[in-house]
Symmetry: none
Subunit: 130 residues, 4 copies
DNA sequence: GTGGTCTAGACCACC
DNA sequence: GTGGTCTAGACCACA
């Protein structure tokens, strides 16, 4: 099974699923056009309710990550060009600043932080735009 | 007023306040020992409920960012040494990986991502450990 | 091939086919009495299931757009006079109001909307009643 | 009660609610900042389940029509500038073409169609951009 | 009090 | 078989 959920994680179950699918797409474990497990199947595998998986899949469809339509199995969607570049960049920056602040307060130096970022990105983005 | 809340930001109001105090401490606008605005005062200034500010201050106290005792004004706490280094690093890395995945799916290349990280960190960490 | 299906279009496949046949009849690419592709032939060409094309053809027959009898090829039916004029107009108006609302919420002005409508109609209704 | 649902309408209940809220915003019956009925309250009023209204509200939030956050009542959001103009226009045009084809097949002439469009738009867009 | 999540089970539409 | 909708009722998090 590619995916799993963690009861102790404070994030909603459906969001954990969303995140893991995204990660799998980005690092190449799932390629464009590849089929995802069915909602019932994945729900069984994860030990969660059908609707929880369903909600995750709908979010992924709304984000353009997967093709999801009634009667057909879910598939990884073809990449679509981004809309507002500026807006995207600012959103990402805000999220990074937040983590950077937390890191600093936890005693992580700027150098250590940079190293962590590099390690996090390296080898994790096989499916990402170069 | 140092702080503000954003109606459009989907995060809880108390979390926005927590984040802004953290940011202010990290970038040096608030130094160790400095007093924070009173709960009522800040609630008025932000146009939010007393409970909301109170909750934010409690979270900040729980994180060791501020000293908060009844009858006394809130102050920025002295930095305390980090507990589990390994654990801290892994938590940060997980959060960065998540953002990196979102960025990749939004069409941001690895190079652009690195540049955004640098810009986010630079000049924002005056109060951070070097 | 006159027709095609779009994987990204959220509408059911059979509905896409229905719509394209309607469009072809209206703009004159298909005339009254002209034969349509066979069910198997079209299903192959589109890469969809036989059932899907079959369902589309049944809907078209139910709407009086085509003649469909067992053992004979499907043909574009002769135009039949409308049943309830008032009812028809109101249905169309309701659907337009819905689009107009979406357009307005997406920042399209009334003038722009009118221009889009004109462009959409112009040159697309060669087979329509004048 | 501003809203209602129709059992005979083939569209999902939650979508009917979404549409009606949009219409109310566009024609000025709901202004920016105005509060919407609570999910439970509206569900009672419409005779539907709480979750159905909840889903409608979440869709409206995802579309940027309303501000919706835990603990606070739902409000009509401030208008936000559109992202991709070209894409928006094409989507609208496609939907109009579809209606135009249906209209033509139902015996509506081009002139009648234009008149219907004008009537549909006139007086219905008080809250729309001019 | 508000919205948000999860479970459970029924039934429908599409392929 | 697939996903999509609706109902029902419990419990949680925010304000």
């Amino acid at each position: 099974m590619l995916f799993s959920v963690d009861e102790k994680d404070p994030r909603p179950l459906y969001e954990q699923i969303v995140m893991q699918v995204k990660a799998a797409v980005v690092d190449g474990r799932l390629s464009v056009g590849e089929i995802l497990p069915g909602v019932r199947e994945l729900a069984d595998g994860l030990g969660v309710n059908l609707h929880t998986v369903h909600k995750a899949y709908q979010r992924l469809r709304d984000s353009g990550i997967i093709d999801l339509r009634i009667g057909r199995r879910a598939r990884v969607a073809a990449r679509t060009p981004p809309a507002g570049k500026r807006e995207v960049d600012r959103t990402i920056m805000r999220r990074i600043e937040e983590i950077a602040a937390d890191a600093a307060l936890l005693g992580v130096s700027r150098q250590e932080f940079s190293r962590i970022v590099e390690r996090a990105v390296a080898g994790k983005l096989k499916g990402a735009p170069s």
